[in-house]
């Protein structure tokens, strides 16, 4: 029996609800660029398309297990319990932001909800995650660390060095390589040796003699099953595993890089904008994990159409409120910029 077959009705509905919350949040972020130009500054990266992978992974957590995402990090705190209004307020640079307006989209963190903090430098957080796992090992807390990063980060030295040490020290960490096929604007075929050699990216695990598997990242239950195995192994003191979770990023890498006062918005996905692969993008949209899991849960009799409609209504209301809260939150006091340099 697969671990996911033991998931109860409430847990399955919880999973779909969390996926939907991430999607609706990201939709509001995207719409902010249109409806409230100038409110979001800098560079913002969305996780639409990653919902099944994020939630399937996090559904395996024990309370207190730390989560270390990449800079594309909005979805994780939403699932971990950070109020969405505070996450949105951070993206808007407001006083009620989870980092008081000091971090922004790429540098979220909420230690109170098991999210020590993200870094905007690709791959650097993979080393930090191993360090969080070192704390768990030295203090014997029994916690397992979830390290999320993109396919692009798997070419960084930090990835390879950390995997090696984690394997030598048998650190309780699970590496989830979110392969969305594009590292920023570059297709994986142009930059990954395993891909070019006709292999899966999970093959990288073989270099460090640890388990490596590839899973359909649009299926939250398939993700759950593989991550669960890796988490159990890590918790038993047997060290790290690598899971390549394959899905498709449904938005462009980030909002267009413009110089103020030129307004910015999300452009079309790179597959269309750069590579002209319209069919590829349409196929990915047709394979959207959220309606797919919704249909499955209804077909399996886990929830009724009316239940799904009710959840959708509640989630939309939550995210509308998050936007209202964030817009109403005051700007930080300018002189607060001198705080938090030193502890």
């Amino acid at each position: 029996m697969k671990p996911s077959e033991q998931l109860g009705k409430d847990r399955l509905i919880w999973m779909w609800t969390q996926m939907l919350r991430i999607r609706e949040f990201e939709e509001r972020v995207k719409r902010t660029f249109v409806e409230h130009p100038g409110v979001i500054r800098g560079h913002t990266h969305l996780g639409d398309g990653a919902e099944a992978s994020i939630v399937g992974s996090l559904a395996t957590r024990n309370d207190g297990d730390p989560v270390m995402p990449s800079y594309r990090c909005h979805g994780y705190p939403i699932v971990l319990g950070t109020p969405t209004g505070n996450v949105m307020a951070e993206l808007y640079g407001r006083r009620d932001g989870i980092c008081r307006g000091f971090g922004g989209s790429m540098h979220l963190g909420d230690p109170a909800h098991d999210f020590p903090g993200a870094t905007g430098i690709i791959g650097a957080g993979i080393a930090h995650a191993a360090g969080v796992a070192l704390t768990a090992q030295v203090k014997k807390t029994g916690k397992v660390v979830y390290s999320f990063f993109g396919d692009g980060a798997s070419k960084q030295g930090a990835f390879h060095e950390s995997m090696n040490i984690a394997a030598v020290w048998k650190l309780p960490v699970v590496y989830i390589l979110e392969n969305n096929e594009y590292q920023a604007y570059t297709h994986v075929s142009l930059e990954d040796a395993n891909y070019v050699g006709g292999d899966l990216l999970s093959k990288k695990a073989q270099a460090y003699s640890i388990p490596g598997v590839t899973v359909d990242g649009t299926d939250p239950l398939a993700v759950y099953d593989e991550v669960k195995k890796a988490v159990d192994r890590a918790r038993a003191g047997q060290g790290p595993s690598l899971i390549e979770s394959k899905f498709y990023r449904l938005s462009a890498h980030g909002n267009a890089i413009t110089v103020p006062p030129v307004p910015t918005q999300f452009p079309k996905h790179e597959s269309v904008e750069v590579y002209g692969r319209k069919a590829e993008f349409e196929a990915a949209k047709a394979n959207d994990p959220i309606p797919k899991f919704r249909s499955k849960l209804i077909a399996d009799g886990v929830m009724a159409e009316a239940d799904a409609n009710g959840i959708e209504e509640r989630v939309r209301a939550e995210m509308d409120e998050a936007v209202r809260f964030a817009l109403a939150s005051p700007a930080p006091a300018p002189e607060d910029a001198l705080k938090y340099v030193y502890a």
């Binding site: 307006g101 909420d110 930090h128 995650a129 969080v132 704390t135 930090a158 060095e161 950390s162 938090y340």
Partner: protein
């Protein structure tokens, strides 16, 4: 109670005492704790004393992640240049994460490294790289010049809730000095006046403190009274003590083993220009390394580095100058 100790031994003693005091302190790096005969390994066990592969990015990144979640790691980097391999972790991760989190996390790590190995280690293993880190908000930088300072500053570094770059000068490793026993912690940002004087102020760090004291001794024989100040930490930098000294002497020589524009001296000169200009009786002089990489052969190496003669010469030239403003 004090005990005579070597500089290197004083640092090791500080680490051992802090590890005994706080179970959250761990210590790791390349080529350490290799066999079960290792005394630190015997004392603290394999969880807290670890050996790493040659992977500076992971070594420092792991320390940052561990520090964010409750440990106090000390990373043995051996040579300060090895930090350059992982410079993202040094300047763009460790000191930024607290600020970007709006104060929700702290990163109490110590990156420990030797520097300034002017003994034929040539271009890539002899450098003074502190200028690269001393201006990075969120980082602290300590450079002890005596065994007592080395012990007290290492204890402070380990107890500090911020990332600290602890730079020990290779050529001071065997220097002996009186070291207070027990819990003597030297606070950061407090300069030490190593010699009192009235005619001229010299500011120096690390190995250059010794050179400056030797120069001051020579000048004393000629009736010139020199004050020698060691800032001990470059971040935070005790500008006030230097300004107060210049107020008294009116003359300043800054001695630094780094090349001119990559020195701490150039930063101190800027502070003095702003805060002590009216006290100066003569222009400030810098005695730094030449603007070259460090050469291998001994006569070449000697030629580019500051030494006692160059310091004496600079001091005399400053004393010979009339007041800037009559």
């Amino acid at each position: 109670m004090a005990k005579e100790m070597m500089y290197g031994e004083a640092i090791a003693t500080a680490i051992i005492e802090e590890m005994q005091r706080d179970p959250n302190v761990i210590f790791y790096g390349q080529n350490m704790g290799m066999t079960e005969r290792d005394p630190m390994l015997k004392m603290f066990g394999k969880d807290r004393i670890r050996i790493t592969p040659i992977s500076e990015t992971a070594e420092l990144g792991i320390a940052v992640g561990a520090a964010m979640t409750g440990l106090r790691p000390i990373v043995e980097l051996w040579m300060s240049e090895f930090m350059l391999v992982a410079f993202d972790q040094v300047v763009n991760e460790a000191p930024r994460l607290r600020y970007m989190s709006g104060g929700h996390v702290k990163v109490p790590v110590v990156f420990k490294a030797g520097y300034g190995f002017a003994a034929g280690w040539a271009g890539q293993h002899s450098n003074c790289t502190y200028h690269l880190v001393m201006g990075t908000p969120g980082l602290k930088v300590a450079l002890p010049s005596t065994p007592a300072d080395a012990k007290g500053l290492m204890k402070a570094a380990i107890r500090d809730d911020n990332p600290v770059i602890f730079l020990q000068h290779f050529l001071l490793t065997l220097e002996k000095g009186e070291v207070p026993e027990g819990d003597e912690v030297i606070p950061f940002g407090v300069a030490d006046v190593k010699r009192h004087g009235t005619d001229l102020t010299i500011v120096a760090t690390g190995w250059m403190v010794q050179k400056s004291l030797a120069a001051a001794e020579r000048l004393a024989k000629e009736g010139i009274s020199v004050e020698v100040i060691d800032p001990r930490t470059l971040a935070p930098l005790d500008v006030r003590t230097i300004v107060e000294s210049v107020r008294k002497t009116g003359r300043l020589v800054l001695v630094d083993q780094a090349p001119r524009h990559a020195s701490a001296a150039i930063t101190i000169a800027g502070e003095i220009a702003e805060h002590a200009f009216h006290y100066l009786k003569a222009p400030v002089r810098l005695v730094t390394a030449a603007d070259t990489s460090v050469p291998f052969s001994e006569p070449l190496e000697n030629y580019v580095l500051p030494n006692e003669d160059k310091i004496v010469q600079a001091a005399k030239s400053v004393l010979a100058k009339r007041a800037v403003m009559a």
